[in-house]
Amino acid sequence: MIELERASRWYGQVIGVNDVSVSIGPGITGLLGENGAGKSTLIKLITGQLKPTTGAVRVFGENPFANTEVFRRLGYCPETDSFYESMTCEEFLRLMVRMAGIPKSEVASITERNLSRVGMLEHRRRKLAACSKGMRQRIKIAQAIAHEPELLILDEPMNGLDPLGRKEMGDLLSELGQDRTIIVSSHILYEVEALTRRILLLHRGRLLAYGDVRQIRDLIDRHPHKVLVETTDRGRELATKLIELASVLSVRIEEDGKRLIVETAKPDEFYTNLAQTVLAHQIPVRTFYSQDNNLEAVFRYLVKG
């Protein structure tokens, strides 16, 4: 659906995106990176607002720049908090819906449905200038999804939303992601992680990683996984058994004697061994989880490791 082939974009001497080749298909993809990593430039290349300096960008097999056929199938929620301030929420959404090519006869009903979808129906007559940041964010999302696009590009969509709003928008995006392609850019990793396991990580304009967060993590074998194992009062005994395993590099016992931090370079093998060990010695284990399987860790390892 989206193809970038050695795409680079420079702003004079400043690099935006550098030699990125990637193919993005259906489902939700999280676009991650620090400020200035090139997320917005990549989004502007995909949404046809920028042309690549070198290389090629194709969306639905076509060059997206100023391409109305691509825009018909694309919804875009920009990061910037800018509107036609004198308009009401409803007027703005009507304009955007009409501009998306929806027939006049359907504009009113589609506008109403989408205002309701983002929880803004009761504020429909409110001027955009008088809306809170969260409300404005909801309207931005509404204008992006209103024409039911096949491809949805959301640049920092959760900005300004309160926790309830984030949850609602997360649920909405998860629902939308079932039958279309969504790219969500964010610098808040846990938000992306809650939506998808597929990430595209940019750093200084370069594509650092793309794929399932766990698969990416598996590739980073020079950084051992840390697994937290919580047992009852037999922490020391369990530690002794675990340190004997070939898959374990080290075991640290926490002060309470119940929690162990195990370092392993072969997490899959370790999980199998752990199950066998606790069963064989009848050591109760309350919980265990990897602290390194989350996005934060992947991001940290890839960018700073």
Binding site: Y11, G12, V14, S40, K44, T47, G48, Q49, L50, K51, A66, T68, E69, F71, R72, L74, Y76, P78, T80, S82, F83, Y84, S86, L95, M96, R98, M99, A100, G101, Q143
Partner: protein, 255 residues
């Protein structure tokens, strides 16, 4: 979205309270000059000539075209709303022309309203209809031509208003005093030629001896109309071509 819908959107946006006060002030420039001239005892013809020349042709017409046409692209870029427009399935030429027609319509309505009011203040019920008709027609032509030029500027520059203001208030008045045919490089020359009014502020120019030595050749009305038409068409075609193919990003995003 059709072209008329874009024009209507522009016109509706021009009716917001934020824009109505400046519009009313610009509408009042010509009539204000007329009241001033009448108060100081000028004859109706002199008062009308002076008001139309100073207040409308060299005043509100230029200010309106700078503000409206100069902002066609720039307002969207600086307001950072351009991304909403340029990611919609509406051809860029249609967006540009729709907004341009809207800008011309607003300029024409205010300029013409100002001219009619000025005429009524100066002449009362005995407004010379032919003269007024001619002025309204030439004002419309001026609005179209200047709007095309300034709309082109808005596709080329992030600060078109400064360039447009220098062009309108410096070049356009200065070049008229340059001897020979240099004045043909000014849009106002053609407008004045088509709608001649006595210039009440005209004093002995420093260029007078040169002007006498290098007499400018007169410009016939057909040449004036053709020049204005060609200028409009060329500016619009270039502007549409640029808008259709260039990138437009707010300054902080393109650095």
């Amino acid at each position: 979205m059709s072209l008329p819908e874009i024009v209507l959107w522009y016109l509706k946006d021009s009716l917001t309270s934020r824009r109505l006060l400046p519009a009313a002030l610009l509408l009042a420039i010509g009539p204000a000059f007329a009241l001033l001239f009448i108060t100081f005892g000028f004859e109706p013809t002199e008062a009308y000539d002076g008001s139309v020349q100073l207040g409308i042709f060299s005043g509100s017409l230029l200010l309106l075209t700078i503000a409206h046409a100069g902002g066609i692209v720039t307002n969207e870029v600086t307001g950072r709303t351009i991304s909403f427009l340029l990611t919609r399935p509406v051809p860029r030429w249609k967006l540009f022309l729709g907004k341009w027609i809207g800008a011309v319509t607003v300029t024409v309505l205010i300029s013409l309203g100002s001219c009619i009011l000025t005429a009524v203040i100066c002449y009362g019920a005995d407004v010379p209809a032919n003269m007024l008709r001619r002025d309204l027609l030439v004002l419309t032509a001026g609005a179209i031509t200047y709007s095309s030029l300034f709309a082109l500027l808005s596709t080329l520059s992030k600060r078109p208003w400064i360039i447009a203001a220098v062009f309108a208030f410096f070049w356009e008045s200065w070049v008229a005093y340059v001897p020979g045919d240099f004045r043909r490089l000014s849009v106002m020359t053609y407008l004045k030629q088509l709608s001649p009014h006595a210039d009440l502020t005209q004093t002995e120019s420093a260029f007078a001896p040169l002007q006498e030595a290098f007499q400018a050749t007169p410009i016939d009305p057909m040449t004036c109309w053709n020049t204005l038409a060609v200028l409009t068409l060329v500016s619009l075609v270039i502007a549409v071509a640029i808008f259709s193919s260039a990138e437009f990003l707010p300054a902080e995003e393109s650095a």
